[in-house]
């Protein structure tokens, strides 16, 4: 149960009630679909039926009364036909060609939502199909063969090469020296261990679909004055940026308001730029506010997912178990447009070495283009992919050289004062040895290891334990925070109470709560004294996007500094005593306001002088701080059904100061649950680039009956970079579960599985070796659903 101390001191580390929690449990929170504006119309999207081709014609069924509809095509876009992220390769609406299934081509709006289905069905689009590529391998093959027919992406204003959005080559030191060191390491190693590991796409599956309401305001002359979009999103200023290009308007004429958001997990980082631009275009066309909300099937089929990946390791190891050198080839499938792939790739690249010392390491990474809907942000952002490969590979190395997985890791862990593979010295304390000891103890690892070995001999249920050791960097990579240059305001409201103004959004993680805690603690005020303004870009400053586990540490620190500034101001100019009550604070605040009218403390991000990053060499201080973790999974594999189940999970992490234990536990448990789904349940099934299981009944996420007890344990080593010593925790829990679970499955069955999701069909196939061309869940026929679909199914008994 939560406990709220009365005064500011000790507030960080206690668990006050979630700021907006009362409205949520009352059902009173107003999400976007709960809102409407006077005269509002409803919008829908006509999408590509094929993966790749030229649009030959668009025609409109004469049976439909089109006069009642607003119709928008690429030709109507007043500005640039692009959804800008890092590059401008991504069209807002397809014009001449389509590059993935479900690509938006035509937008429709109608006053009556029920008329939309007939409208969408009444638009006929004819294509000249072109061949597509649907996997990393097919995309690579097209490049290797110089098969121009299958070069689906040529490069963009921001670089890239044929079928490849971005490449990195990261060395653990000087490139030439590292290459020489690697050569020597592989020449002299006692063991060379190679492995290939793959991960699938994953749907964020926020329970609230993407949705927005847009308005377009005109000048008396008829030209566009401004646009306003409110909706479910993580990063209001990303959408502002997108709108400035689509409408050719300055930033202050593109207003974006985040409303209560029903889950995001990265899925509402870049995508709202698409649906937000679309709704605004329809509002422009019809002269009414337009609401666009996707239904589940559309949201799943058409919006972003986690990037599928492939990681190849080659590692030189001594017989004592020291990593002598390694090469990592990391590839992700970016889908049809670059979107955020370069930065997802970056995080995956930097996390690929894990929490280990590598005397010589080279990571080559690339993001390939395929004719799938663009993959995007999802909690972990590349790190779960490369860490899956690494942590499976560490178990493989251990088995190969005859050490325990535990001992191998102990001999290679990074510690305080060591340098990471990017050359970042770990100046703050790091104790992976202790984390591993404690995690294994909490999980009863050694006892179970021994017991299961005996029990498995006579049981049809094989049990096992496994673990993964990893870290997750807080905040934007490298020079990212410097470039973001985040700004926060702390205002004193007329009644003398402080209000936080940031663009950092709440979507369940607890942004509102922890930022208010930071302010209350620093201002020595009760938690309830602090309010936080709704993120409306016409009101709040740009404190950066709500991504990358950056809110607590980076934005929290800015709030801490703004609060300190406000205290100093009131002490200097309004006679606030050193030790004050809330009443003293109000009185001082009112005195100040009476004299000066307003009080706003603004604080901008200042990069710690000691932090340095070289974007060209890809070396330096990759992140201001890291959270460190060891996760232990216990599994049971039923040899009658080949179903692997996670039966217990222990998650131990060092995250700096735990700001709010209840929220923090909830973050870890939720991330672990998504990680369990990633490992064992959630398979996106594609047919020529189209997601076929785009329903909750056939995309299988864990229910309350599928998850094991998740035990969360914290170690707290305060960081100088975060408020009160906090570090980021949002993404960390996504990284560890999948490799820990597959390591446990290998422990249980003696068989190494290196691809996720791992479905019972895959386990079955390996155990029965029926010699199918692909095998396992590769043989699923995604076009047939005998339970729920009755149309277009020809079944011969």
């Amino acid at each position: 149960m939560g406990y709220t101390p009365q005064s500011g001191t000790g507030l960080l580390g206690s668990s006050p009630l979630r700021k907006e929690g009362r409205d949520k449990v009352l059902g009173a929170s107003r999400y976007i679909d709960d809102q409407s504006l006077p005269g509002m119309w409803h919008g829908a999207t006509v999408r590509s039926a094929i993966a790749r081709g030229r649009i030959r014609s668009i025609s409109y069924d004469p049976a439909v009364d089109w006069a009642q509809y607003a119709i928008v095509t690429a030709a109507d876009i007043p500005g640039e036909n692009t959804i800008v992220h890092l590059t401008r390769d991504h069209p807002c609406l397809a014009r001449a060609t389509v590059n993935h299934p479900e690509e938006p081509i035509v937008l429709l709006a109608h006053p009556d939502k029920t008329a939309l289905l007939a409208g969408v069905r009444g638009v006929r689009i004819d294509y000249d199909p072109l061949p597509g590529v649907f996997t990393i391998e097919e995309s690579e093959a097209a490049v290797a063969a110089n098969d121009t027919e299958r070069i689906i992406w040529e490069g963009s204003d921001a670089g890239g090469t044929a079928n490849c959005f971005k490449q990195y080559c990261m060395y653990s030191g000087d490139a030439a020296e590292t290459e020489a060191g690697l050569e020597a390491a592989f020449d002299t190693a006692d063991f060379i261990v190679e492995g290939e590991y793959a991960t699938g796409a994953q749907e964020q599956l926020y329970i609230e679909n993407n949705g927005v309401i847009a308005e377009c305001f005109r000048k008396p002359s008829g030209g566009i004055e401004s646009v306003c979009v409110r909706g479910s999103m993580q990063c209001p200023f990303y959408l502002v940026h997108a709108l400035t290009l689509v409408f050719d308007l300055p930033e202050d004429k593109c207003r974006v308001i985040q409303v209560e958001t029903g889950g995001a997990f990265g899925g509402k980082e870049d995508f709202p730029s698409v649906i937000g631009s679309h709704a605004a275009l329809l509002a422009m066309k019809c002269g009414h506010p337009v609401k666009m909300t996707y239904d589940r099937a559309e949201d799943m089929a058409a919006t972003t997912k986690r990037h599928p990946s492939r990681t190849r390791h080659r590692t030189a190891v001594s017989k004592e178990g020291r990593l002598l050198g390694g090469t990592v080839d990391f590839a992700i499938d970016g889908g049809a447009y670059a979107t955020l792939s370069p930065v997802v790739l970056s995080r995956g690249t930097i996390h690929a070495p894990g929490p280990y010392k590598w005397p010589h390491l080279r990571v080559r990474a690339k993001a390939m283009a395929t004719n799938l809907p663009p993959h995007g942000a999802f909690r972990g952002f590349g790190a779960p992919q490369s860490l899956f490969g690494l942590e499976r590979h560490m178990d493989k190395i251990a088995r190969t050289i005859g050490l325990s997985p535990e001992e191998l890791r102990r001999r290679n862990f990074l510690g305080t004062g060591d340098c990471t593979a990017t050359g970042q010295p770990l100046n703050e304390p790091v104790d992976m040895q202790h984390l591993l000891t404690r995690a294994l103890h909490e999980a009863g690892y050694h006892e179970k290891l021994a017991r299961f070995t005996v029990e498995n001999k006579t049981s049809s249920i094989k049990r096992g334990v496994g673990f993964a050791s990893f870290m997750h960097g807080t905040g934007f990579t490298g020079s990212g925070e410097r470039r973001l240059n985040s700004l926060v305001h702390l205002d004193l409201l007329p009644e003398g109470r402080p209000q936080i103004l940031v663009s950092s959004t709440e979507f369940g993680q607890g942004t509102n709560t922890i930022l208010c805690q930071v302010a209350a603690q620093t201002l020595q005020l009760p938690y309830d004294e602090i309010t936080i303004a709704r993120p409306d870009t016409s009101v709040v400053p740009n404190s950066g996007p709500t991504v990358a586990s950056r809110t607590a540490m980076i934005v929290g620190k800015l709030i801490e500094r703004a609060s300190q500034q406000m205290l100093a101001t009131l002490r200097a100019h309004a006679a606030l005593p050193e030790a004050h009550t809330a009443d003293d604070f109000h009185a001082a605040g009112l005195r100040y306001l009476a004299k000066h009218g307003t009080l706003r403390e603004s604080v901008r991000y200042e990069p710690p002088t000691k932090i340095y990053w070289d974007d060209d060499l890809y070396r330096g201080d990759a992140y201001p701080g890291y959270a460190w973790a060891v996760y232990v999974a216990e599994v049971a594999v039923d040899m009658n059904t080949y179903m692997a189940t996670c039966t217990r999970f222990d998650a131990l992490q060092e995250v700096g100061k735990v700001m709010h234990p209840v929220l923090a536990k909830g973050q870890i448990e939720g991330g672990v649950a998504q990680g369990i789904g990633y490992a064992l349940y959630e398979k996106c099934m594609w047919k020529e680039g189209r997601m076929m299981n785009n329903q909750m009944t056939n995309y299988i996420m864990p229910t309350s009956a599928d998850l094991p007890p998740i035990h969360v344990h914290f170690e707290e080593v305060p960081s100088i970079h975060g408020p009160g010593g906090a570090k980021g925790i949002g993404e960390l829990p996504m990284d560890g579960p999948a490799p820990a679970i597959l390591n446990a499955i290998e422990n249980a069955t003696g068989v190494a599985f290196n691809t996720i999701p791992l479905l019972p069909e895959d386990i079955f196939e390996r155990f029965t070796s029926l010699g199918h061309p692909h095998g396992g869940s590769e043989d699923l026929d995604v076009t047939v659903d005998r339970d729920t679909r009755t149309e277009a199914v020809e079944v011969t008994a």
């Binding site: 829908a44 029920t114 008329a115 939309l116 289905l117 007939a118 969408v120 239904d295 099937a297 559309e298 049809s460 009658n640 059904t641 080949y642 179903m643 349940y681 099934m685 076929m692 299981n693 329903q695 009944t697 056939n698 299988i700 864990p702 229910t703 309350s704 009956a705 599928d706 019972p760 069909e761 079955f764 196939e765 029965t768 029926l770 199918h772 396992g776 869940s777 043989d779 699923l780 026929d781 995604v782 076009t783 047939v784 659903d785 005998r786 339970d787 729920t788 009755t790 149309e791 199914v793 079944v795 008994a797």
Partner: protein
């Protein structure tokens, strides 16, 4: 995208007779709707083909569990929650009780009806294997009369049933008196709850003989997702009936089941997995008979 609800007729006839009259007057035009857990999904995804619907949900004459000496009669409008709550079913027909608990979620069990589930005729449905194993019969009514047939004859093919356009499934009658039988049911779904089965097996057997020679006197096996419809596994039954429970019998049962199973690859699983796991379940059951 959701269908336009304004395009659908939906009426509540006052009685069962009134429903049957409507069905008889315009055969094939009207579709009965009870709990809505299937048809409303079709409506919400824009693929509900039928445009005239007749409400059955309010017809109390279809919602009953009548316990008689040799059978339990279940009205087609009985919900899965009703079935789970029935003590008689829990005691006399435990496989049906268990299957009901696996059907959808609590909310769907509160609405979904046994009759609706059978008429929807998914080969993956949860109740059919148990009903097939118990040798249930179904009573179909129309304004012209009543007929009763073995439930095993109800499913004619993929999502096709013996129901004529003017008929309604009225009663599912399930014989009781299985105290001498070992009963087994197992569903292998995509997850533990809210799952559609990849394969499911309900089986029951009477073991005769003494401790030294246990002979399978009778065996009855129903399966889901092994063919285009729910099936009774007659070949596997024949392979073990009258046999001692030993390795040879287990092998024979597996072979026979493999011979009669006609599973397919679909979005939830593969044919090979389904066939193999069904055999594993059958073997698990057979081995339990000597335990």
């Amino acid at each position: 995208m959701r269908s336009d609800v304004g395009q659908f007729d939906f009426v509540s006839p006052a009685s069962l007779d009134a429903v049957l009259e409507r069905l008889a007057a315009e055969p094939g035009v009207h579709t009965p709707l009870a709990g809505g857990t299937e048809l409303m999904v079709a409506l919400n995804t824009g693929r509900l083909q039928q445009h005239s619907l007749l409400n059955l949900q309010h017809l109390s004459e279809l919602r009953f569990i009548r316990v008689e000496a040799e059978a339990i009669h279940i009205g087609s409008g009985t919900t899965f929650t009703d079935i789970r709550r029935s003590e008689a079913i829990a005691i006399d027909l435990p496989l049906l009780s268990q299957a009901a608990s696996w059907t959808g979620s609590v909310a769907n069990q509160n609405r979904g009806t046994l009759g609706g589930n059978l008429c929807n005729a998914s080969p993956a449905a949860d109740s059919p294997p148990a009903l097939l194993a118990y040798g249930a019969t179904v009573t179909l009514v129309s304004s012209h009369g009543t007929r009763t047939l073995p439930y095993s004859d109800f499913h004619l093919g993929y999502k096709r049933t013996a129901l004529r356009p003017d008929e309604l499934l009225h009663t599912i009658s399930v014989p009781t008196g299985w105290s001498g039988y070992r009963q087994y049911i197992r569903k292998v779904g995509t997850r533990n709850a809210q799952a559609i089965s990849k394969v499911a097996l309900a089986a029951m057997a009477r073991v005769d003989g003494d401790r030294t020679s246990r002979v399978i006197g009778d065996i009855r096996i129903g399966a889901a997702s092994l063919a285009d419809r729910p099936v009774r596994c007659a070949a596997a039954e024949a392979a073990v009936r009258g046999k001692l429970v030993n390795e040879t019998t287990v092998r024979a049962a597996r072979t026979a089941l493999a011979g009669e199973a006609k599973p397919i690859d679909d979005i939830r699983s593969t044919a090979t997995y389904r066939a193999h796991v069904a055999a594993n379940l059958l073997e698990e059951f057979l081995r339990s008979l000597v335990g």
